[in-house]
C-alpha cells in the first residue's frame, strides 16, 4: 500500500466511466421527458430529485474508488450482519407501498434497504468464496454459501420483493459458477431450484402471481399488467427506426404508459429515439459489461475477480429482465433499469458498483 496514487491513475478505466455517465445522463433526460409530457410537470418533481440522486451517486462512486476493496471485504461479515438486522427491522416497522414493506425513512428520505442488501450479499459471498478457495468442492462449504445468500433472500421475499430476491438468487448462481463449483453440484442446485419454484410461489402476493399468470395468458388481466405490457410494446414499436423525437412520445404524453418513469422508462426512451436510440443504449450496456468482464479477468486477486463477477451478474440480470419485460419477452417483476429508472436507492447502488469496479481495475496494476 505504500505504492502511491500515481500507480492508481495508470489503471483508470475511462471506457467504463464514460458508458456509466452517458447512461445516467440518458436516464435523466428520459425521466425529464416522462414527467414533462404527463402534463403535470409542476407536481412531478422527478427530474430534480433524480438529478440530486445522480450527484450523490457520483460522490458514492468516488468514495468507492478511493477505498480499497480489500478494506471493505475485511468487514464484509459485519456489513452483512447490519443489513440483515435492517431487513428484520423493516419487516416490523416498514412503510407499505403498493402492498409491500420496502422503505425506511431516514432523515426525511425514503431508503430501500433491499438495494443495499445486494451490495452486502455481494461482499460477503466474494469474501467467503475467496476464503474457501478450492474447498468449494466440499459440500459443507457449498451449504454455507447457500445459507449466506438464502437468509437475505428469504427476508426479502417476506416483504415481499420478488425482483430483488431474484437478483440475489442469480447473484449466488453466477458467483458459484465463476468460483469453480463442480459441474455436478451446479446441476443439482439448478434442479433443486426448479423443484423449489412451488415453494417460492407461496411467498408471492396476489398481484405478483397475477403478473406471472398474465404473462402466460395475457387475457387474464387485460386492464392491469397485460395492459401495461401492450401499451409498452405499442410505445416501443411506434418509435420506429428513428423515433418520434424528444418530448414527442404520444404514448407517454397521453399517460397511456403506467410507471413510465420507473420500470417502463425504456419504453419512453425507445418511443422517442427509435431503433437507433435503443441500439445505442444496448451498445452502452454491452460496452460497460464487457469492460467489466475484462476487469474480472485481470483483477489483482481472486477476491477482486469475485467482486467484479458479482457486479456483472447484478447489472446484467437487471438490465436484461427489465428490457425484455418492456418488449414483452419477460414477465413484469418490478425490476428497475440500472442507471436509468427513476429511484435514488437503485441509482446509488449501481453507481457504487461501478466505483468498486473502477477501484478493482486501478489496483490490478499495483505491485
Amino acid at each position: 500500500m505504500k505504492n502511491g496514487h500515481r500507480n492508481l491513475t495508470k489503471g483508470f478505466d475511462s471506457v467504463t466511466l464514460a458508458c456509466t455517465l452517458l447512461l445516467v445522463c440518458l436516464g435523466l433526460v428520459t425521466v425529464f421527458s416522462s414527467s414533462y409530457t404527463s402534463g403535470l410537470d409542476a407536481v412531478k418533481p422527478y427530474f430534480s430529485r433524480q438529478l440530486v440522486w445522480a450527484l450523490l451517486g457520483l460522490v458514492a462512486m468516488l468514495i468507492a474508488v478511493l477505498i480499497d476493496y480489500r478494506f471493505v471485504e475485511a468487514y464484509a461479515y459485519q456489513l452483512y450482519g447490519v443489513t440483515l438486522f435492517l431487513l428484520v427491522f423493516l419487516l416490523f416497522s416498514g412503510k407499505e407501498v403498493h402492498g409491500s414493506q420496502r422503505w425506511i425513512h431516514l432523515m426525511g428520505v425514503q431508503v430501500q434497504p433491499s438495494e443495499f442488501v445486494k451490495l452486502s450479499t455481494l461482499f460477503v459471498l466474494a469474501r467467503f468464496l475467496d476464503d474457501i478457495g478450492d474447498r468449494i468442492h466440499e459440500v459443507k462449504f457449498l451449504v454455507v454459501a447457500l445459507l449466506l445468500a438464502g437468509v437475505p433472500t428469504g427476508l426479502i421475499l417476506l416483504q415481499p420483493d420478488l425482483g430483488t430476491a431474484l437478483v440475489l438468487i442469480v447473484l449466488l448462481a453466477g458467483m458459484l459458477f465463476a468460483a469453480g463449483i463442480k459441474r455436478s453440484h451446479f446441476a443439482f442446485l439448478a434442479a433443486a431450484g426448479i423443484a423449489g419454484i412451488p415453494i417460492f410461489w407461496q411467498f408471492l402476493k396476489g398481484y405478483q402471481k397475477a403478473r406471472l399468470l398474465a404473462f402466460v395468458n395475457p387475457d387474464l388481466d387485460p386492464l392491469g399488467i397485460s395492459y401495461q405490457v401492450i401499451q409498452s410494446q405499442i410505445a416501443v414499436g411506434s418509435g420506429g427506426l428513428i423515433g418520434k423525437g424528444w418530448l414527442a412520445g404520444t404514448q407517454s404524453q397521453l399517460n397511456f404508459l403506467p410507471e413510465q418513469h420507473t420500470d417502463f422508462i425504456f419504453s419512453v426512451f425507445a418511443e422517442q429515439w427509435g431503433f437507433l436510440g435503443a441500439c445505442l443504449l444496448i451498445l452502452l450496456y454491452l460496452g460497460l459489461l464487457f469492460q467489466a468482464i475484462k476487469i474480472a479477468d485481470t483483477a489483482r486477486d481472486f477476491q477482486g475477480s469475485m467482486l467484479a463477477v458479482g457486479i456483472i451478474v447484478i447489472i446484467v440480470f437487471q438490465v436484461l429482465v427489465n428490457l425484455l419485460m418492456t418488449v414483452g419477452l419477460c414477465p413484469v417483476t418490478g425490476i428497475p433499469l440500472p442507471f436509468m429508472s427513476y429511484g435514488g436507492s437503485n441509482l446509488l447502488t449501481m453507481m457504487t458498483c461501478i466505483g468498486i469496479l473502477l477501484g478493482i481495475r486501478m489496483r490490478s496494476f499495483i505491485f
Partner: protein
C-alpha cells in the same frame, strides 16, 4: 485487510473460460432483445405507429351495477337506472368551441363550466370531458343521430342509483357520494377509483361492502372517428360491442363486472309509506318495529331529502340546498336523543312494582302538586285525587311518579332504565346512533367541572321519575322499551338487514336472526302496565286517558304519551298561551310510544313530533292515522306507488 495473493485456484478452475461462458450468456440475452426490437420497431413499426397515432386502443372501465335493495315483500327500495352523460373529447373535435355551440341546439348545459373544463384538460386532449349529466333518453338519441355534425361528442351510459320511494325511507337507505380522497386511499386496493360513488350514509354506507360489486373493464380497438358505446343490458351490466357509427369493435381483453349483492330489508314498504303519509307536515320521527323480533318495519325522519339528488351531478343545487338547510334534513331523528318526557313513566312504574314499593292496589293522592323543598306541580293543576298505578299511567299523573321516584332513589331508577335499554346504543345497523343519557350521581360528578354543580339533588331524582331533567332517549330506544311490555319483557336488538344474497339470489350470504335478551322478569308488573297503557286510550271515567284520541273501532292501540319540555317552565310564561303564540323552537316535543296490533305481529311504534306542543293532539293522532292506514291498506300502497314511479322514469 488481506495481502494480495496470487490465486492458484483461479487458474485451476479456468476462470478465464468461465468468464467467456458468462460473456456468451450476456450476448445471447442482448441478441434476443435486439431481435425483438427489430421486430417491434422495424417490421411492425408502422402498425404500432398507427395504433399509437390515433390511440386506437381504448381502455374502458365497466362499472359494476350496485346491488339491489328490497323490502320484506320483495318491493324494490333501491335499484339502478341507465344515466346518459354527454362528453366531449377535445382531441377528436376539430373545433371544440364550435362543437359545443352546435350542441346547444340539442340540450341546455353550463357553457362556461364546459369551457373551463376544456381549458383545464389542455394537456390531455383525449380525455373525456363531461358536459351534461343525466340527459334524457330522447336527447341522447337525438344527439346520437346527428353524431356526424358533432365531432368529438360522445355519449356514455352508466348505471345510476335510483331510490323509487324518493324522499321515503331516505334515512334508512342513506345516500351515495363521490369517493373522497381519503376514502380512496383506504379503498384503492378494493378496486375503487377516483370518481366512483360510494355509500355515505344509511344502508348505502353500512352495506357498502355487500352492495358495491366489482368493476370490470375492456380494452377495445376503436376507429379514429367513432366512440365506443357502453351499453347496459337488462340487469344493468355494462358492455361494449359497437361504436357510435354502428361498427363492430374488436375486443382485445375483457373483464366482466360483477354486480353487487342483493340486500333484503326488514322494512315493509306499505307501512313505511303509511308512516310517511301519517306524519303529515310534522318534523320528527316514527319507528315501527316488530315487538317480538326487533325487525324494523318503518323508520321515518322528518324533514327528509331525496337521495336521488345525491347521485346526479346535474342536481347539485338541490343537494346543496339539503346540506345547508338549517333544519338539518340529513339528521336521522330516530337516532337522536331527546328528553323522553312522560313516556319514561313506564320505567318508573315497572321499577316501583318490581321493587314492591307499590302493589296493584296502592293508591297515592294527587293534590296537584308534590312538595320537596319546593313545589313540583302535576300537569293537572287541580289534581287527580287518589290513583293506583294503572290510573296513574292512564292519566299520566306526575305526582304519583314523583312519589315513586323518591321512594326508589336515583340508583334504582337508573338500574331499571338500563334494563329497558335506555342509556345505551341499541346496536341497529345504522351509523350515528346516539346513546341517550340516564343520569346518576356518579355521572354528574364526572360531567360537571364546578364542585357546586357536581352534587346530586333530591329534586333531580323527583323529576327524573317523569323523564324530565337530564334524561335523554332516542325514538328507537323508546321503541325497544315499549316493546318489552307486550313481548314478555324481552329487550330486542332492532335490525334492518334481513338477508344478503348473491345477485342471482342463488346463495344466501348473510341471514339475520332476531337477537334479544330477557330483561324484565316481573310479568305481573308488565301486565299492569299494559292495562295502564290500554286505559290511557279507552278510559273516559273519571278522566279521559291522555291518549283518548287514539280510540277507534278498527284497530287496537295502547300507549303512553309524553310531552318533553324544551324550555323551562318560567321561560314559557305560566299563563296558558295558545300553541301558536309560543315561538316554534320553544314549543314542547310530543311523544307517543304505543303498541299497535298488526296483521301478523304486534308493532311497537314510537311517534315523535318535534316542537308540536301537546302529545295528545299531534303524536297520538299521527299514530291513529298510521294504525288505520296499516289496518286498511296493507299490501296495496307500496306496490302502486313504486309502480307509478317506475313508469315515469
Amino acid at each position: 485487510m488481506k495481502p494480495y495473493l496470487r490465486s492458484r485456484h483461479r487458474e485451476q478452475i479456468h476462470f478465464h473460460l468461465r468468464l467467456r461462458v458468462l460473456s456468451i450468456i450476456i450476448a445471447c440475452g442482448f441478441s434476443l432483445l435486439f431481435l425483438q426490437l427489430v421486430h417491434l420497431q422495424i417490421f411492425a413499426g408502422t402498425t404500432f405507429r398507427s395504433l399509437s397515432d390515433r390511440n386506437r386502443i381504448r381502455l374502458l372501465r365497466l362499472q359494476a351495477p350496485r346491488g339491489l335493495v328490497f323490502d320484506r315483500h320483495n318491493n324494490i327500495l333501491v335499484d339502478n337506472r341507465p344515466s346518459f352523460t354527454v362528453s366531449i373529447i377535445p382531441g377528436e373535435a376539430s373545433n371544440p368551441a364550435a362543437t359545443l355551440q352546435k350542441l346547444r341546439r340539442f340540450l341546455e348545459f353550463d357553457e362556461q363550466e364546459a369551457q373551463r373544463k376544456l381549458e383545464a384538460a389542455r394537456n390531455a386532449p383525449f380525455s373525456q370531458i363531461a358536459v351534461a349529466y343525466d340527459v334524457s333518453l330522447e336527447q341522447a338519441a337525438a344527439i346520437e343521430e346527428c353524431s356526424l355534425e358533432l365531432p368529438g361528442i360522445t355519449i356514455t351510459a352508466e348505471p345510476c342509483r335510483r331510490f323509487p320511494l324518493l324522499k321515503g325511507a331516505a334515512h334508512v337507505l342513506g345516500y351515495l357520494g363521490e369517493i373522497a380522497p381519503r376514502e380512496h386511499e383506504r379503498l384503492a386496493d378494493k378496486g375503487y377509483v377516483i370518481g366512483d360513488y360510494i355509500g355515505k350514509a344509511g344502508l348505502e354506507l353500512v352495506a357498502e361492502e355487500w352492495l358495491h360489486g366489482e368493476s370490470g373493464g375492456m380494452q377495445v380497438q376503436v376507429y379514429a372517428d367513432g366512440h365506443p358505446q357502453i351499453e347496459l343490458d337488462e340487469t344493468g351490466n355494462p358492455s361494449v360491442r359497437i361504436d357510435s357509427a354502428g361498427r363492430e369493435l374488436l375486443t382485445l381483453g375483457k373483464k366482466v363486472p360483477k354486480a353487487g349483492n342483493v340486500v333484503r330489508l326488514t322494512i315493509d314498504a306499505d307501512i313505511q309509506l303509511a308512516a310517511e303519509a301519517a306524519m303529515g307536515s310534522y318534523d320528527g320521527a316514527i319507528v315501527v318495529m316488530g315487538a317480538e323480533t326487533g325487525a324494523i318495519r318503518a323508520l321515518v325522519s322528518r324533514p327528509s331529502f331525496d337521495p336521488n339528488s345525491f347521485v346526479s351531478p346535474g342536481r347539485n343545487a338541490e343537494r346543496l340546498e339539503v346540506l345547508n338547510d338549517p333544519r338539518h334534513p340529513l339528521l336521522n331523528r330516530a337516532l337522536q336523543a331527546y328528553s323522553p318526557g312522560s313516556t319514561f313513566k313506564i320505567v318508573t312504574a315497572y321499577a316501583a312494582l318490581a321493587e314492591g314499593i307499590v302493589s296493584p292496589d296502592t293508591k297515592v293522592y294527587c293534590s296537584g302538586s308534590f312538595t320537596l323543598g319546593r313545589k313540583f306541580r302535576c300537569w293537572k293543576d287541580t289534581g287527580h285525587g287518589s290513583l293506583n298505578v294503572v290510573q296513574a299511567l292512564a292519566y299520566s299523573c306526575d305526582v304519583f311518579f314523583y312519589t315513586m321516584a323518591m321512594e326508589l332513589g336515583i340508583e334504582r331508577l337508573e338500574h331499571y332504565a338500563r334494563l329497558f335499554g335506555l342509556g345505551a346504543a341499541t346496536g341497529i345497523e345504522l351509523p350515528g346512533e346516539m346513546k341517550g343519557l340516564i343520569p346518576s350521581p356518579e355521572w354528574k360528578q364526572k360531567t360537571f367541572k364546578r364542585p357546586a354543580d357536581q352534587k346530586w339533588f333530591l329534586g333531580e331524582t323527583v323529576i327524573a321519575g317523569i323523564g324530565q331533567g337530564y334524561t335523554l332517549a332516542t325514538p328507537l330506544q323508546l321503541t325497544c322499551a315499549i316493546a318489552t311490555i307486550v313481548n314478555g319483557g324481552r329487550l330486542v336488538t332492532p335490525y334492518l338487514i334481513e338477508r344478503v344474497e348473491t345477485p342471482q339470489s342463488d346463495k344466501v350470504l348473510l341471514e339475520r336472526a332476531p337477537a334479544q335478551r330477557h330483561a324484565l322478569n316481573d310479568s305481573a308488573a308488565l301486565d299492569l302496565i299494559q292495562e295502564g297503557l290500554k286505559q290511557a286510550v279507552v278510559s273516559r271515567q273519571p278522566f279521559f286517558g291522555t291518549a283518548w284520541r287514539a280510540k277507534n273501532d278498527t284497530v287496537s292501540i295502547l300507549g303512553k304519551t309524553g310531552t318533553a319540555q324544551v324550555a323551562a317552565f318560567k321561560e314559557r310564561a305560566d299563563t296558558a298561551k295558545e300553541l301558536e303564540q309560543i315561538p316554534y323552537e320553544l314549543r314542547d316535543h310530543a311523544w307517543f310510544a304505543s303498541i299497535i296490533d298488526g296483521p301478523d305481529e304486534p308493532y311497537a311504534v314510537v311517534v315523535f313530533c318535534e316542537h308540536s306542543g301537546h302529545a295528545s293532539e299531534s303524536a297520538v293522532l299521527v299514530t291513529l292515522e298510521l294504525a288505520t292506514r296499516i289496518a286498511e291498506g296493507a299490501g296495496t300502497i307500496a306496490s302502486t306507488e313504486t309502480a307509478q314511479e317506475g313508469h315515469s322514469t
